[in-house]
Amino acid sequence: MTATAGEERSGEACGDWGELVGAALLGTGRRRGSGGGPRELLDAAAVHTLRRRAGLRPAEAAPRPRPAPADPRPEPPEPARRRLARLLAGRAEAGAGSGRRGASPDLAELLPQWLAAAGRHGYRAPAVLLPALLDAARARSDLRPQALALAGPRGMWLAGLNPDWRFALRAGAGGGLPDPEDTAAVRQLWQEGLFAERAGLLGAVRARDPAAAVRLLSSTWATERAEDRLMFLDSLRVGLSAGDEPFLEAALDDRSRNVRATAAELLSALPESALARRMARRALACVGPDGVAPPAGCDAGMLRDGVAERPPAGRGERSWWLGQLVEAAPLSCWRDRFGGLDAAAVVALPMPGGESWAEELHAAWCRAAVRQRDPEWAAALLGSPAAPTATAPGTASLAERARLLSVLPEGERAGWVARFIGAHGLSEAFQLLGACVVPWAGPLGRAVVDALDAAREAGGYPWSFSGVMGLAERCLDPAEAGRLEALTAAAQPEADAGGAAGAGAYWAEAFQRLTATLRLRAAMLAELAPEPAV
């Protein structure tokens, strides 16, 4: 089966194949004596060709690839496999966005949901879809973690064969990382690996055994480069606990300022730490029932505990220091300072003699509530969802409020945002909705649908709400599809009635797409449910 087979064979009657080709190239007319005319040459070539084709033999096999490691996870049920194939095929077409969207669902948005749901069920990707899945992950880095987890060891094996998919090997995803339990292998990779491998390894060990990760990091800490120390330290955010305090406290004396600051920040998230207590002492000295008196200077102790001395341009240094002290002090210290008042009451207190400091103080409390994940303080700083944003007790910034929301328990969070939307509509809700858990809880979903309908009645256009619409497609509970269908019907007649046929038809189309997407999501999730054992 090789190209040489024909050339090696020399027939009795038809001469050597190479000679025939040479003669045909040159032309029989130009060759004297040897061989016959063109017809004889063609006859001989035909015989030669057929002999070669009829006598083909297998080639020698090249070295075979090493077999892929086994993947014990089950494949998804058949309908789910077909769905994934369609989602992956639809991905290519979805790219070309052209202006207004039609009434059909956006498959590109559903792919991440499918991947996440399949991951929760513990499936592996169907082998035949691995190439399309790897292509999708290559094109969209946001899909990578879930796509590669689903692809599993066979996906990594395949990626090793195709240079287009090298990203998958770089991304790690368990590929090449030793089992965190295998101490010797872990230690070897930690000492000899590339930075990315080591960072991946540290993360894997931290996820399994937080203390072991700190021991691993301590073993080489003194010899690490400053930028590596910073990155490794940052990875301790995951699984942070009181057990990390000795290591972090030591890091407060690091040579690098950034490392020191990060260590201080991590310690301040541990309300029981010595650093948190030191910061509390300093903060309590500045803030009390009598008012606010920011620190007069930044001493060596403050510097060691991570306080940055120089404020950014345009900010006074005293308020800058105050903010940092309050931010790092445990919120629990304020109850006693304010005579047993709870968070809401403390936040509501007027700050005598310090109007200018009050804003700085509240902003610092917001940061502290987020860092220490304190729901009571977060709720107090968010205030009432119905109150005008400008008068919010903590902060008027929607991004800050979204961060505070993320500290609240899920149900409370959804309820707060639902009431916010009820009072203020959707125009400011986008960031807040982003902080809510998917699928949206019942009251939140209803509030969003109601607000969309109100916007329609008020004569708005759906594309003014395209951000919320997009979120709703991904996050609304599919159970809302029924109500949406009724709204679609309500939107339609208006289009036929007046000369201004515009908005109604657009709303109907937008609601249709939303409904179709929700139904598709419901079907998609149902398909992924494991098949009953036969």
């Binding site: 190239l25 005319g37 063109p38 006598g55 070295p63 082998a127 190439p131």
Partner: protein, 374 residues
């Protein structure tokens, strides 16, 4: 290696057109009548039988006129080939394919669409990179062989004569082929579009589960209307297949009324790489112009390689090169590799002198076939 790449690029598109029905649309076509098979082979055939000419004498005269035209075309083509070899192929790279296009058009005028398609391919070869002279001589010689077959038709045995007629592009005469009743497993189905975009050819590969006999059913559709025959890969349909004379007994038409069929419950049995090539070699005795032969290969291990892929016998050291477009491996090959995970699989495909073209694959023990994307 380069030899193979060259060959393949040529083969890719145009050769599909060879199987186009005798009355395929094209300039100079005059007889698009009952013999045309556009839009359903089985029904077309039946209609052809019913619409048998009322005046046998007139039909005979028409056939005679057409044979004369083809003979004139064949003589002209022989002259062109002789000129090519006498003057030397060396100038072909510069000459371009316009001259061959013109010859192809003359063959269409001569009502020999099979010759026209081959001539067009011949003209493509010099533009296909290194190794083209050998390839051009091979194809030119096979074309010459076909011409000689036509000119000596009367002296050929029946099946070979039928093969020559169908390769030249003459609609088969009333001669009835063999009828085989079997449970036919659908091994593969894929479409290809003629180079001018005017005809979609749908090929369906079948294998008799009892007779073991392979069958190729073709269906055709004009632009915008896909061929109607739709048999899902992996189904088994009970039907009567009427095999056309010639072409190594591959071409068949399914009698209608076969229903949806049932899914196949087992992985079809495969052969090793040696027997696969033997089967192709044996088929060449019946049809020397055959590009490939349908083979279920297995168990084999797909071996990706930068210089071309292979399907290697799971036991032993033999392998078939995968016929690739000469460029990057197609998506279907990566699917095949993913499916195998480095282990053995069963693969159905077309095994020919350019290598093996995988079309369908089975994982061990899983009767559900995977149709590989092209």
């Amino acid at each position: 290696m380069t030899d193979q790449q060259v060959r393949h690029t040529v083969e890719q598109v145009p050769s599909r057109a060879r199987d186009a029905p005798s009355g395929a649309p094209g300039p100079g076509r005059e007889e698009a009548g009952p013999q045309t098979r556009i839009g359903g082979s089985a029904s077309g055939r039946a209609a052809g039988a019913r619409a048998a000419p009322a005046d046998p004498e007139a039909a005979r005269r028409r056939a005679g006129r057409r044979a004369a035209r083809i003979a004139a075309g064949v003589a002209e083509l022989e002259q062109r080939l002789a000129d090519l070899v006498r003057e030397g192929m060396a100038g072909q790279e510069q000459a371009g394919r316009a001259v061959w296009e013109e010859t192809a058009a003359r063959m269409v005028d001569a009502q020999a669409p099979g010759l026209a398609a081959r001539v067009r391919e011949l003209g493509e070869i010099p533009g296909c990179g290194p190794g083209w002279p050998a390839r051009m001589l091979e194809e030119g010689a096979l074309l010459h062989l076909l011409n000689r077959g036509w000119l000596g038709l009367a002296g050929l045995p029946q099946p070979l004569a039928a093969t020559v007629r169908s390769r030249v592009g003459l609609p088969d005469t009333a001669a009835e082929g063999e009828a085989v009743r079997d449970r036919w497993l659908v091994l593969a189905q894929y479409d290809s579009v003629s180079p001018d975009g005017r005809l979609t050819t749908r090929r369906t590969w079948l294998r008799g589960t009892e007779s073991g006999r392979p069958a190729l059913v073709l269906d055709f559709g004009p632009p915008g209307r896909p061929p109607r025959l739709a048999l899902p890969v992996g189904r088994v349909v009970e039907a009567e297949a009427r095999f056309r004379p010639g072409t190594a007994g591959l071409r068949a038409d399914l009698a209608e009324g076969y229903g949806a069929g049932a899914p196949c419950r087992q992985v079809p049995e495969g052969v090793g790489t040696g027997p696969a090539l033997d089967a192709y070699g044996a088929a060449l005795r019946e049809d020397p112009w055959l590009e490939s032969w349908p083979v279920v290969l297995g168990p084999v291990v797909p071996v990706p390689g930068e210089r071309g892929w292979q399907l290697a016998d799971a036991e032993g050291g033999g392998a078939l090169p995968v016929a690739s477009g000469g460029g990057r491996p197609q998506a279907g090959l990566w699917q095949l590799a993913a499916l195998s995970g480095g282990g053995p699989v069963t693969v159905f495909g077309e095994c020919g002198h350019r290598g093996f073209t995988p079309l369908t694959a089975w994982e061990p023990g899983c009767p559900e076939p995977v149709a590989l994307t092209g």
